[in-house]
Structures are given as C-alpha cells and as structure tokens.
Amino acid sequence: MYNYTEEQKISMAKVEKSRQDRLKNLFPRMSAEEKDAVLKENHPDYIESAYENLKVGPNKGDKVLHELAALLQGKPRVDDLKIDLTHPDYDVDVLVIGGGGAGSSAAITAHAAGANVMMVTKLRIGDANTMMAEGGIQAADKENDSPAIHYLDAFGGGHFAAKHELLYKLVNEAPDAIKWLSDLGVMFDKDEKGNMITTHGGGTSRKRMHACKDYSGAEIMRTLRDEVLNRQIPVVDFTAAIEIIKDDKGQAAGAVLMNMETKEILVAKAKTVIIATGGAGRLHYQGFPTSNHYGATADGLVLAYRAGAKLLYEDTLQYHPTGAAEPTQIFGALVTEKVRSLGAQLVNRDGEAFVYSLETRDVTASTIIRECKKRDKGIKTTDGVGVWLDTPMIDLIGGEGTIEKRIPAMMRMFGKYGIDIRKEPILVYPTLHYQNGGIDITANGESGVKNLFVAGEAVGGIHGRNRLMGNSLLDIIVFGRNAGKYASERAKEVSVGKLTLSHVKEFEKELKSAGIVPEKVSPQILPDYRRKDM
C-alpha cells in the first residue's frame, strides 16, 4: 500500500464515494467557445513571458520559448574543433540521423529501394519516444470511417492549422502504414476474426485507435529495430550528429558526428540526409516535467536551422494532460490517454468531475491546470499538485480484468510503488509530451535545404497546433517511409560537390552582428541531471 498523505486519503475517499454517480452522469462536452476560453486562460502556449523573438536565421522575428532560442542561437559544437572534411569516415547514399520509429522506417524503406543507408544515433536504436508511446495508432480502416473523417478530426483538433498536403498524406496513407507494420509482424490487438480492436482517443469522432495493449510504440519499435538488424543496415550508435555538412552547391551532404564516449569526431558524407531526431521534452520548457526519453533535446531543429531550414509552429508544445504526479519516483511519466479511452474520469479534490473524458489534449490539460491553479481544487503532491484519474472505473465499465488485459504497463508502473490502479485512483498533472511544431517540409519530406529530408516529431505542420493521440505513431511511420522513399530516389541523381561548413561560419557572423553572445553550446545532445550544488 502506498503511503498517501492524510489529505490525499480524505480526498480519495470522496472520489470513491462519487464514483457510481459519475458513472451514470457523464460530464458534458465543451462548446467551441468554452474550449477557446479555457485554452487562452490556462494553456502554457499562451504565457507570453515564456517566449522571445528569434534574432537570426530563417525564422527571424518569430517567437519561440527561451529554452529553444538559447539553442537555436547557440554556439556551434564544431566551433573549436579541427575537422577534416576531405577524408570522410563514412560515405553513403542516405544518412539517417536518429534511431527511433521515424528513422528506422526511413532506413528500412530506403534500403528496400536499393540505397546504401546508414543510421546514426546518439544513444541506441530504439531509445526514442516511439518506444514509450503507449496508447495507439490511428487509421480510418473501419466501415463507418474514412480518411476524410480522420482528416476533419485531426484538422479541427490541431486548430485548423495543419498543412493540407501533409495531413492529406497522413490520413490517406494510414491504413497502408498499419498494413505495412502488420506484415512486418507487429501484433495489433484483434478479435478472433481478425478485426482490429479500436477505441476512441481525445478528439476522435470514430473509434480508430489501434493498439498493441499499452505497449503500442514498444511493439512497433522493437519490430522495426529487428527489421533494421535483419537487413543489416549499419547502425552507428552512441554517436551524435553535431552539425549538418553542406557542399559548395548549398545542398546537404552529410553530418559531423561525435562519439558520445570517446568524443572522437567523425565525418559522414551522404547524397541525402534524413533528420529523424524527435522532440524536445528534455529541454523542460517552462519548468515542466516530461514524459520524453533521455535524448529529446531538439538537436535536429538546431542542425536544420543552422543549415538554413525554416521551422513551422515551433512555438507550440503539447502538454499531455496526464503525467504521473505521485509517486515522486515517476513524476512526469506518461499515463497513457488510453486510460481515459477506457473510461477513467478526471476528478478534483472534492470528488467532482470537471471535464468530459475525451476532450483533446490541450483542452484537457488546460482544465487540469485551471482546476489546480485557478479553482484551488487540486490535491497537494510531493512535487506540486495534481488531480485524480479515476482508474477503477475502467473495470466497472469494461468488466473485471480489463485493466490487466488492456493497460498492463500502467498497472505495473504504479504497482511497483504499491498502488493498485484497479482499486485506487491515481494522481496526475500535465507533463511536457510533444513538440507540435518543427522543421517545415514539402509533401515529399524535404526541408528548405536541398537534399535535407525530415521525418517524425522533428517535422512541423502535420498536426497543426495540437496533435491527437495516435497520430504521432502514425506520422513517424507514414513520414518515415515517405522520407526514405524520396531521399533514396533523390540520391540516385545527386552529385555531391566539395564539402563545407561555411554555413556555420555565416550563421555565427549573423549572431555576432545581431549582438548575440551565445549562452549555450548546441546541439545540447543530453540533459544534465547532476546535482547542481556539486
């Protein structure tokens, strides 16, 4: 049994008491106006003081969070290094930077198209947010659904800001992405006839969330990794890309690499480069905890930006409504949205529901922040404050055993600390989860820099200004394959000129004339969690 505080115990009793009533009387959905209002008043994206305007580069004048500005306008790691570009250590057709789901999908696709591919990753292949995506992957593959309905859900959920041609591709190629994964051997939840077991996610109008229990991303990632290894695609691990190399024609033509352990500098030459470096949760924007993996430090954005690629919606982040708020050991860890898909409600200190279970993530997160900060109806936790997520409702709705069968990872995560989520609710608070924006690309996955492609969370514009659950696992597959396809096609016709890092020098000149003295070296590569008073 977990050692709850007295206040928490009293509040928990109220949650239990109101449970039957809440089961019968669902909290109503919000109107469009109510959603707009709660977002503006509570969502962290609207806190002006957290932002500043960029002074140099392709997005000069645009606002970004301070933490990102410091890196985009940071001091390049290659600055003090002697780098010999004339004798590359690697020479390949397609260089994939990043070892998550997008990078792996891209590498497999490019390899299948006959390209000489190499992957480079600063940790191991599979150390990525993909591995931690629990809830599922969307695709409109049922009779009552269609790509057009999927499109409308995602476009509205993203506040009508998604790039049409990217969202079109996402929804239209979704069923094929599921089929591709299934043919690789991914074990989707199916009934005995082979029909996919699908549920709702926040903001979906059809049940199109496919899952592999609550290890959806892990199951997809380990299958992709196995396939990369079966194809014997070289994976250079524990090696970070620290700068994009261009050629004298201004095309991307490789990357400077750094061995994470020996700090040895290596040069990779390539006909095309794919950035699949993921998100930025480990920058802890606005002091938020994060559900992201250890390497999520926006490296790809920094590399692409210095090479001259434009970013899109880089000011908007997703704060997942339900990060673990207690126990402190898992503070900020993701509690999958599937918990709410299966019927668990959000409940305040007095045992009252305050939001419909499946509003979109940004709206739901905003109502939790409002409940705690404005209405003072939160519950004090070790690290701050939180609200209840009433998990025992799941077995009441779906029958005994539903939690064990459908969300085993959640049961295990809390079970380790003596919390049985079948019997007790859990404490949650929003956690920094996803980078909605990123590098601007064409439908073929190419950035503003020729031969520099992007896939996965590093892309901006697929989802607009908020992403629906299950559209990220989908986008890494669709746009990973997309980048692999077009980067390998392009590689056939590219002739690489003389390699250069002159664009880095140019960028530094710009910094200087803008009067910026960089505070940070970038890309950051890893966060530093060592004790600060040492």
């Binding site: 859900d153 239209n172 051997g185 380990r222 396939e227 993996h293 295990r412």
Partner: protein, 224 residues
C-alpha cells in the same frame, strides 16, 4: 532535510536521498549518464541493473529507472549485454518448429534452472515462454513474452547461453505476421484507397474554406 541512505555504485559509497530511483541517485551522486539510460520510464530496457543488499544472499535485478534505492544497496549496472540476434528474412521464414531449431538451437539446451524467470525485471515467466518456443507454440510464446523490454538480464543469468529476448522477438513477429488472423477490413480499405475511392471526398474536404470546416468539425457526429 530528507533522509539519506548509503548506496554503493560499483562498490563506491554515496549518500543519496531515499526517495530516489537508482538512476536519479546516480545522477545525484554526480554521474552524467550516457550508457544505461534511455526512456527513463521502464519501456526501453537500457538500464538493466543488478544489486545486492548488504548482508543478504539474494542477487536482485531491476531497471534502474524503476527501482527505488535502499540502505546498503550494492549496484552494478548492465548497460550492454551481448545477446545473439540471428538474421533472417521475415518474408521467407515460416512459423514452424524447425525455424527455432535452425536459428536458436540453444533453447533446447535449457536446463530448467528458472534463473531467467527469477531475474526478469518485468516479472515475466521467461522459462515458460522459452518452453513454448521449443514446442513451436508461437502464439503462447508471443503472449507470455509480450511485456518484454529486452533488457537482457535473463540472458546474463542463463547457464545455457540463451538470448531469450531475441527468441521472443522472433516468436512475436511470426505470430503477428503469419498466425494472427488476417484483418479483412484493413486489406479492403487499403485496396479502396489504392483504387482512389476516397480521393475526391478527401480533396473536397481539404479544399473547403476554413470557416466551413469549423462548422463541419464542431457539428460532426461522434460514434458512441
């Protein structure tokens, strides 16, 4: 001030707050982790760890990101273990008993010591899923092994040199691709899209003015 406990990283003593996980305690002690740290949430298997509590016999295993420190804990991380991963073509293998014999014959040398199960950081019945693999019962092997994070601790403890996580990975892919029932509605939808059945509808939605899309979105019918 929070209670401090004594923990020993690779034999060296540090005093750390008792609420921390092993991973956070190492960082508190001053380690900047490169190896042995991945998702920090119990999914990636990067932080396999072995420990023993001073004065106790039992050797315990865990994921460093999931395990709280204790007084007298002697910790050795296992950031890498040389698992054997056999290369195969998923399009050419078949879900027969022979494929295991061919790729992972060492599973038949299992001596039934159960060290794998006892050491599993996920609490899985590892020896049981290997038994299923031996018999070619891939569905059962896949189900039993599903929560595996491939941390490799089981293999580190195995006297027969079995790479359990890789055996299970093969079983899951065989099951997912060849044994699980085919999904007809998925295949049908892919055909329809390839035929262009949805193109017109999708383009018409895409090309509507935003105001109209807002109306459509705010009044769309939601499946109960």
């Amino acid at each position: 001030m929070e209670n401090l406990v004594n923990v020993y990283f690779f034999g060296k003593r540090y005093r750390v707050p008792e609420s921390l996980t092993i991973m956070k305690a190492m960082e508190y002690a001053g380690y900047q982790l490169v190896r042995g740290c991945g998702c920090r949430n119990g999914f990636c298997g990067a932080c396999a760890t072995i420990y023993r509590i001073q004065g106790k016999q039992e050797l315990k295993t865990c994921l460093a990101c999931q395990q709280q420190v204790e007084e007298g804990m002697y910790v050795a991380t296992l950031p890498f273990f040389p698992l054997v991963k056999q290369v195969y073509d998923i399009e050419k293998v078949k879900p027969t008993e022979q494929i295991m014999m061919q790729l992972y014959p060492e599973i038949y040398s299992c001596i039934g010591c159960n060290a794998c199960t006892k050491s599993c950081t996920q609490g899985l019945n590892v020896m049981q899923y290997i038994a299923y693999a031996q018999r070619g019962e891939y569905e059962k092997c896949a189900e039993e092994s599903f929560d595996c994070v491939m941390c490799g601790v089981c293999s580190a403890r195995c006297p027969a040199g079995i790479s359990h996580p890789q055996v299970a990975e093969l079983a899951r892919r065989l099951y997912g691709k060849y044994i699980a029932p085919q999904c007809e509605h998925l295949n049908k939808r892919v055909e329809e899209i390839n035929r262009g059945d949805f193109k017109e509808l999708l383009e018409s939605v895409m090309n509507k003015p935003v105001e109209e899309l807002k109306e459509l979105y705010n009044h769309r019918v939601i499946e109960p």
